[in-house]
């Protein structure tokens, strides 16, 4: 619940220089390469998979990795490699959906309560703080309990449980912006509330929103996979990494590949997103990069 306010960026970077600077460290380059490969694999999962991910008995049950089944086979004789490619599709899509829910709702709530201020702000902050008192995983589980299990509901649950944190950060960022003299200056020339929100606040909040989103994407992918692992997210036979891990757990003594490869895929996906997000936040946040 440590919600620190990211510094509000003052410098402008054109997109090309932004990308160039984001790729300025070996870690970020490695992360980007893995991420591009994952996205590529996810987009063309159907073309790239040697087998139908849900077709059973395409290979011997729990068969070890081989040249035909790169990552081996699961209990039902399904090809793990094909299932992981299709799992990438689901994980990335679900991750993006989750982040979109938290960001859109969180940004709107945070911006509006900060801008309206006064009692709205006081009550809003109180509510957000109470929501933050629920550990994220507990909140997500509670929401799943209401919505029912499933991949989409898990994404919704993780997305909703992320709203209070985003709203809190955006609120503090908006408050620092509202205190800037250029906002007073806009009011002094007679600009309307909507103009100030749209032209003066939102453009300056964008970098923070992007940073928050990129830092949250990894966590979102991880959390939804966690819910699936716990049996609260994607249900069998859906090809989903968390669910695959959960199934593989029982056979790890005899067929460790059933849990190694889905876990590795999940780990690489989360790490690549974190590597890029971490670097992006350094580039966009002048305080983090020591430019202030």
């Amino acid at each position: 619940m440590t919600t620190t306010t990211p510094a509000v960026t003052t410098a402008i970077l054109p997109p090309r220089r932004l990308i160039a600077r984001t790729l300025g460290t070996p870690g970020a380059v490695a992360g980007s390469i893995i991420l591009v490969l994952l996205v590529f694999g996810a987009l063309f999962a159907s073309l790239l998979s040697p087998f139908d991910p849900n077709a059973t008995r395409v290979c011997p049950r729990l068969a070890a990795p081989s040249l035909t089944n790169f990552f081996g086979c699961d209990l039902f004789g399904r090809d793990i490699f094909s299932r992981i490619l299709h799992g990438a599709q689901l994980s990335l899509a679900v991750g993006l959906l989750t982040v979109a829910i938290s960001l859109i709702a969180g940004t709107i709530i945070g911006m509006v309560i900060a801008f309206l201020g006064g009692r709205v702000d006081r009550i809003g902050v109180r509510m957000l703080d109470v929501m933050l008192g629920f550990p994220a995983i507990v909140l997500a589980i509670l929401i799943v309990a209401v919505l029912g299990v499933g991949a989409f509901n898990a994404a919704l649950a993780v997305g909703i449980s992320g709203i209070p944190r985003i709203a809190r950060v955006i609120r503090s960022a908006t408050l620092t912006l509202v205190g800037r003299e250029y906002v007073d200056s806009a009011r002094a020339v007679g600009a309307s509330q909507t103009r100030i929100l749209r032209r003066h606040l939102l453009p300056n909040l964008w970098p923070i929103v992007i940073v928050l989103g990129s830092l949250d994407l990894g966590t979102a992918i991880l959390s939804t996979a966690t819910l699936s692992f716990l049996g609260l997210g994607a249900q069998p036979p859906t090809a989903e990494w968390g669910a695959m891990l959960s199934a593989g757990r029982e056979f790890m003594r005899y067929a460790p590949w059933t849990m190694i490869f889905p876990g590795l895929a999940l780990f690489l996906a989360v790490m690549s997103v974190n590597l890029v997000g971490d670097r992006l936040s350094h580039v966009l946040d002048p305080r983090a990069s020591g430019h202030v």
């Binding site: 507990v138 692992f229 590795l264």
Partner: protein, 307 residues
């Protein structure tokens, strides 16, 4: 009013709001609670009505809400649907495994995280820092259920160094490492940034200008200022953990509060879910309060701030 009294009283509305949210959210769970309470066994209308009256579900929602608040205030969490036992007793029976795991994980996390965080923060951009931060990034990206399984596979199944089941202290090693690794990554990053930020403050320059030794500058002048964010993180993580390490308990098949919550959700045992969530959030709020009281001791500015 002294500042700590204000703070203690300040949690009353927070608790009230939190319980209200729990009550509200659980009202939304689909399905007739009476049917759930009976575990789906077919029953006559008379039985259903009796059960409904017994659970107070025949009352209007606001009466149910007031009853709920009253019961929460005196610590009565009702009876579980499936076991018919008082929820508070069920929880009490499972606190110990969760608490042990929480302490074990915290210990590993602190040992690793504090050492790495300080080493990295004192020489930012040096090689220790680069190594530590890369490792920490890997640490926070590792799915804890996967790392738990890998640990079981390598140390439990292949090397057979530690038992993977049981109540002994050695059965606690792998799950503690699993949790500790996750904690250490975030903790090291936070300590590092807090320390770097503090070391650039003007009062650190003042301390150097007084001719103090580097150790004294860091240990006395920097640490006390840099310590609040890491304490916050640890305290709140601890609060989450004593509510049950949901994932780790699952992986290591430990009968703690976390696995209890999952089972309760899957079987729609509403009083049990409600009791567990109330217990977890209340622990969270109380620990948060203790942390704030601690800040007041560490930082005098917090004491004098008005409510």
């Amino acid at each position: 009013m002294p500042w700590f009294v204000r703070r203690v009283l300040g949690i009353v509305p927070t608790l009230f709001l939190t319980w209200t949210i729990v009550f509200g959210v659980l009202q939304l769970i689909p399905g007739d609670p009476v049917m759930l309470a009976l575990g789906g066994t077919p029953a006559s209308d008379e039985v259903l009505d009796n059960e409904r009256r017994r659970l107070g579900l025949d009352q209007p929602v606001y009466i149910q809400y007031l009853t709920f608040l009253k019961k929460m205030a005196i610590g009565d969490l009702g009876n579980g649907y499936s076991s018919k036992q008082p929820v508070s007793e069920m929880i009490a029976a499972r606190v110990r495994p969760s608490l042990e795991l929480a302490l074990g994980g915290l210990l590993v996390g602190i040992l690793l995280g504090v050492a790495l965080g300080i080493a990295a923060g004192l020489r930012p951009h040096g090689w220790i820092d680069t190594m530590t931060m890369s490792t920490a990034l890997v640490g926070v990206s590792l799915p804890s259920f996967w790392i738990g399984m890998l640990l079981i596979y390598v140390f439990g199944l292949q090397l057979e160094w530690v038992p993977i089941l049981g109540d002994g202290i050695d059965a606690l090693i792998l799950p503690s490492i699993t949790i500790g690794l996750f904690l250490a990554g975030g903790l090291a990053r936070l300590i590092r940034s807090a320390l770097i930020e503090t070391m650039t403050q003007d009062y650190i320059r003042t301390a150097h200008s007084k001719g103090l030794s580097a150790v004294r500058v860091v240990a006395k002048h920097a640490m006390r200022n840099a310590i609040i964010p890491p304490i916050t993180l640890l305290g709140l993580q601890f609060a989450v953990l004593i509510g049950g390490a949901v994932v780790t308990e699952r992986v290591f098949a430990r009968a703690g509060l976390g696995s209890m919550l999952i089972d309760a959700v899957l079987t729609k045992d509403i009083p049990l879910v409600q009791g567990l969530v109330v217990y977890t959030t209340t622990a969270y709020i109380v620990i948060n309060l203790l942390l704030e009281l601690l800040y007041g001791i560490v930082d005098p500015r917090i004491r004098s701030r008005r409510a």
